[in-house]
Symmetry: C2
Subunit: 166 residues, 2 copies
DNA sequence: ATAATCATGGATGATTTATATCCATGATTC
DNA sequence: GAATCATGGATATAAATCATCCATGATTAT
């Protein structure tokens, strides 16, 4: 079982976007360069964040991406679900209804016990993810990062951030 | 992100094996038939359970599988890890060390904040899985299953169970 | 002993998913 | 009107997963 790289990319991008001033934006191309990843593919993931209502996109020469809502209202779970989908990790194939001991399908009322256990564990996972907001993650990065990285990021932001007109 | 079918197969098999009397065994072929799945592939997963110390296998004409330890001492987490491995679900590729703002690798001390959050959520998932034992799962199946299924399973067991010599 | 049964392990192919790219389109700003 | 940027679809490539087959070795019944 594995979580795709897209989630990592999206989360890091979201933290950068959360660091923008006001309603400024940052282009997808800059985000790809900053993280050293494929631009075209990253754009796909950013689009998923837009569809999920996490980011909003501004087209045009001074366009880019910005947060669609406050950083404290965006959780890690939101990002994971936007990229990876909301499907359950464990998919019960109703194996109990197969083989020689099976009876009519209507006899199997409640969900399979194994499925129940798996789903409850998954709920615990999602709950833990939802406890981390973009705001808390960004704060964590800020206090633990190397000063040189922070300074370089500041310069890079100054070059690439698109100040809001308003 | 998806958990393979092997986990489902292994879990259901483990519950059947947990229902055997004493040190009796059940052949892999019978388990495959019971669940209506590929025998050769199921054998691979059963092997993984043996390697993990969950089942033990008895070769020979009257051989098969039985639990390697008490059902109350085997958790759903054990089974998931035996089949799916113990690798973390989220694998940090240290994306922060790439791109134009990167500095020397030694400057990145602690783990990335996103990685920390992901790992903590994963720990919650594993903890929840570990709360379900084979004994509790088997009990849950027993009380919620259709009476006809239970009776058929009993007959099936009588035909396929290999009583222990001792 | 011999044959039957069963687990083991490796090699292999098929299927699916994830990753990545390209190109055409439409919207916005200079 | 031209440049810039996001969008969306089509498509290729790589990797992980699923599944099967076959050869081997161990054990037990006859």
């Amino acid at each position: 079982m594995k979580l795709g790289e897209g989630v990592e990319w999206a989360a890091h991008c979201a933290i950068i976007v959360a660091g923008l001033a006001g309603r400024s934006t940052i282009p997808g191309k800059a985000l790809a360069e900053y993280h050293g990843v494929s631009e075209t593919y990253l754009l796909k993931h950013l689009k998923a964040l837009v569809t999920a209502g996490i980011l909003e996109s501004v087209p045009g020469p001074r366009g880019g991406y910005r947060l669609a809502r406050d950083a404290a209202e965006i959780t890690l779970l939101d990002i994971v679900e936007a990229i990876d989908g909301k499907q359950p990790v464990f998919r019960c194939t109703e194996i109990r209804q197969r083989g020689p001991t099976a009876v009519e399908a209507c006899a199997y009322r409640g969900p399979c016990g194994i499925n129940r256990a798996m789903l409850s564990a998954e709920a615990a996972w999602r709950l833990a993810l939802a406890e981390h907001t973009l705001a808390s993650l960004a704060a964590g990065v800020a206090i633990s990062a190397d000063p040189r990285v922070i300074s370089r990021t500041g310069e890079w932001l100054a070059r690439n951030e698109r100040k809001s007109a308003s």
